[in-house]
Symmetry: C2
Subunit: 198 residues, 2 copies
């Protein structure tokens, strides 16, 4: 039995395929969208299309940005010899919110996960190694403290050590199994201060 | 401090304005959308626009549908002399899922709420009264058992009684304060069977 009309069903299906949106939420959202004023619907659809079309990787740190180089990499007041490696742009933002980190970032866009079939070549690791040719003094590994994050941290440290660049890992102030983006700023700062050399 | 680029920020803002999506979910969704394949992004945006453009009110029961008349109103096997009044299309679907209701519906698109400034003229009540000119035998009021739903039920029953049409209310098997769309089908059926004349 088709409970809703074709257009409504298709919209519910598309919404339910998004992360964190279950079938009840998708129904609620679909009816909300249909009842929204036309100009707001246009704006939402356009914003999605424009973000998709215009957002790209920063050519240096690979975060998602509107420009060739992101504002942090373009900022000459930041310490470009200090690179913090994070799994994604949201984790980078979590550290930016502390307002205390002076270096730049490198966004991996993932973590090594044999379970999910994600290997070292599937994340921006080669790109990180290329950046080490410059005057980099320290690489801070701030991947999540999950199994994948720890695996990735160990892998990167083994890769970088032969180059002579100092490699550190944020302290385990971050709860084991936790996701960086949900952790409070004080804990994030404590983890940064207590970082240890790998 | 601008944490994300302009396009990402605008997308996060648009998403966070939708019901049930907080700022963390909006961030997560925004990055998911940007990382989705181009064809899936196009499909989502088009589905939203098409649903908005093509979905309209059924000319008889005022549910949201693709056609001039919805499939339920167009179905001659349904009992068109039995009208169930619901607050919205999702509540109608909740009763349709039981598969046991043989009559048709009338969708009010809201409930009377002095608190929110929603009066009898702001919902499809006049349209319900116009339908009573036909051979209607019974109107079953299935508005939510919230304050607004009960107020609406009382208002409708007072309006209909002088016309001589039988008015019933679904039984209070539905928990007080509950929202119809989240209730299991057995409870919904019990409430239908135990309906009492108002």
């Amino acid at each position: 039995m088709e409970l809703y009309s074709g257009h409504i069903n298709r919209l519910i299906e598309e919404l339910a395929a998004l992360p964190g949106i279950g079938s009840k939420s998708a129904q609620r959202l679909a009816f909300h969208l249909i009842n929204m004023p036309q100009d707001r619907v246009n704006r939402l659809a356009n914003t999605i299309m424009e973000a998709k079309a215009n957002v790209r990787y920063c050519s240096q740190c690979f975060t998602l940005t509107d420009n060739e180089v992101c504002p942090i990499c373009a900022n000459q007041k930041r310490n470009h010899n200090l690179i913090m490696v994070v799994e994604n742009t949201r984790d980078m933002t979590a550290y930016e919110k502390t307002g205390k980190y002076e270096g730049v970032y490198h966004v991996l866009h993932g973590a090594i996960s044999p379970m999910l079939g994600i290997g070292p070549n599937d994340i921006k690791l080669k790109e990180l190694m290329l950046r080490l040719k410059e005057d980099v003094e320290e690489v801070i590994i701030a991947t999540n403290s999950s199994l994948e994050g720890e695996t990735t941290a160990m892998y990167i440290s083994k890769l970088i050590k032969p180059t002579g660049v100092k490699v550190t890992r944020i302290a385990s102030g971050v709860p084991v199994g936790g996701d960086l983006e949900y952790i409070d700023e004080v804990t994030l700062l404590r983890a940064l201060e207590g970082r240890v050399e790998l």
